[in-house]
Amino acid sequence: MAAASQSVFDLLAYDAPGWGGVMLGGFYMSLKLAFGGYFLGLAIGIGGACGKLYGGPLIRDLMEIYTTLIRAVPDLVLMLLLYYAGTDALSQLLALMGYGAVDINALMAGIFVIGAVQGAYSTEVLRGAIKAVPVGQIEAARAYGMSPLMVLRRVTLPAMLPHAIPGLANLWMIATKDTALLAVIGLSELTLVTRQAAGSTKAYMLFFLAAGALYLALTLVSNVVIRLIEKRARRGLVRTA
């Protein structure tokens, strides 16, 4: 069957020979990468921000090196580097430890790569937000006998949230789009499968528009969720114009 004779609906049909199922599968993969990478980055960011703010000189220097290096190198280069060199180093390490050749899960590697990049940016967003928390609130928590960890959990982190959300929301948007860079390492995320679909059907416009629509839908849904989270986080603050 010639490509030209296929209708849009045939091409986008869920089941083969339509490419809808493959596209959605790629989208699902992108979502997993974005979620995994973002939350890994957030965890690294909390640790990194605390390390920079409360750590000793050694920890502070290490964090500084991490955030500087990651933010200095283009994401694409980092991804190639971390993916190929990183997985290579890991499998050699595992081989040395006597585990033999290990196949590293591509999804995990992708999440790790995005998380490492996001972590550096999250560290800076969270560090700024924590510094914006009025000292008095942290002092009151200490004065009432909270342990350092409890101060962080009960006061510092919730109090810094309103300051962090605009920056963190930005990072989430970037994470969703950064997943597309992972196409270069052969992860079957949305951009890669779109290229395959477009290449084998020659319906370039159709499939790239479809992919664009999926990215757009993700952004629109994210906006709604972020607005709800921000409203909740700012509940204790007087609205300013």
Binding site: G136, E139, R142, G236
Partner: protein
């Protein structure tokens, strides 16, 4: 040696910020039920003294005992002191309720949330019991209707009364007031003083750093005048305010009125 009847005993407290010695050896004992007013000009060290008691500032030398229990300190290797036992400090702090000049309520929690926070998370009181106690206290300071409001939507006077409610909720062994009315608009000072006055009259142990001389005279049973990091003069309020002996205190009192 130590007496549990003594709510707070401070012995020869020194505090140095770099080259500046702010406290030059202060000793003070508060027995249970004492209301001690600490007065003095700005820079006299009165707030620093109060903040050394719960170790928000670490003293350079000297010791603090609460209810007969001396807080263990060790040297920090740089000529100062640091707590030897973090758990002990946290336990003692949780029962030394502090009321701050700028309220320092937790902005992401409602008034009720602020009042039940320490009982639940630090003292381990069951949630429903903490809420019941908190509601009684909030009625007492006149904020029961505001219990679900966030602090930034309240007036300064209301915020400070909420902060006093937070302090009362830990059933404090002693209360530390650090200039509780200094950040308030003049018309809001009265409502806060009246709450503190009530607490003083029911013989709660308190140390009160204040600029409200008339109030200090009314509610305290002992007044301490600090000057340049030392106790210049102390005694019952009638004596300190009525018949000051030192020149500096005379000058300070006349400058206030």
């Amino acid at each position: 040696m130590t007496d549990p009847q003594e709510a707070i005993r401070v012995t020869d407290l020194h505090k140095r910020f770099g080259p500046l010695e702010v406290l030059k050896g202060i000793s003070l004992t508060a027995k249970q039920g004492d209301v001690i007013a600490i007065i003095g000009g700005s820079g006299s060290g009165k707030s620093t003294f109060l903040r050394c008691i719960n170790l928000l500032e670490l003293p350079t030398a000297g010791s603090v005992a609460v209810h007969g229990e001396t807080i263990d300190m060790k040297t920090d290797g740089q000529g100062g002191l640091m707590p030897a036992n973090r758990k002990q400090v946290e336990r003692i702090r949780s029962r030394l309720a502090m009321v701050f000049q700028s309220f320092n309520l937790w902005q992401h929690m409602t008034v009720l949330g602020n009042v039940i926070e320490v009982p639940i998370h630090v003292l381990g009181v069951p949630r429903d019991q903490a809420i019941a106690t908190a509601e009684t206290i909030l009625k007492r300071v006149g904020l029961f209707e505001k219990r679900d409001v966030y602090p930034s939507f309240l007036s300064g006077g209301q915020q400070q009364r909420a902060a006093i409610a937070r302090a009362l909720a830990v059933q404090p062994l002693a209360m530390l007031f650090d200039e509780p009315t200094s950040a308030l608009d003049p018309e809001l000072v009265g409502e806060v003083l009246s709450v503190i006055g009530d607490l003083a009259r029911e013989k709660r142990t308190m140390l009160l750093v204040t600029h409200e001389m008339k109030f200090a005279r009314e509610v305290s049973n002992h007044v301490v005048f600090l000057h340049n990091g030392l106790i210049e003069e102390q005694g019952p309020p009638e004596q300190v305010f009525g018949a000051p002996k030192s020149e500096r205190l005379k000058k300070f009192i006349s400058s206030i009125h």
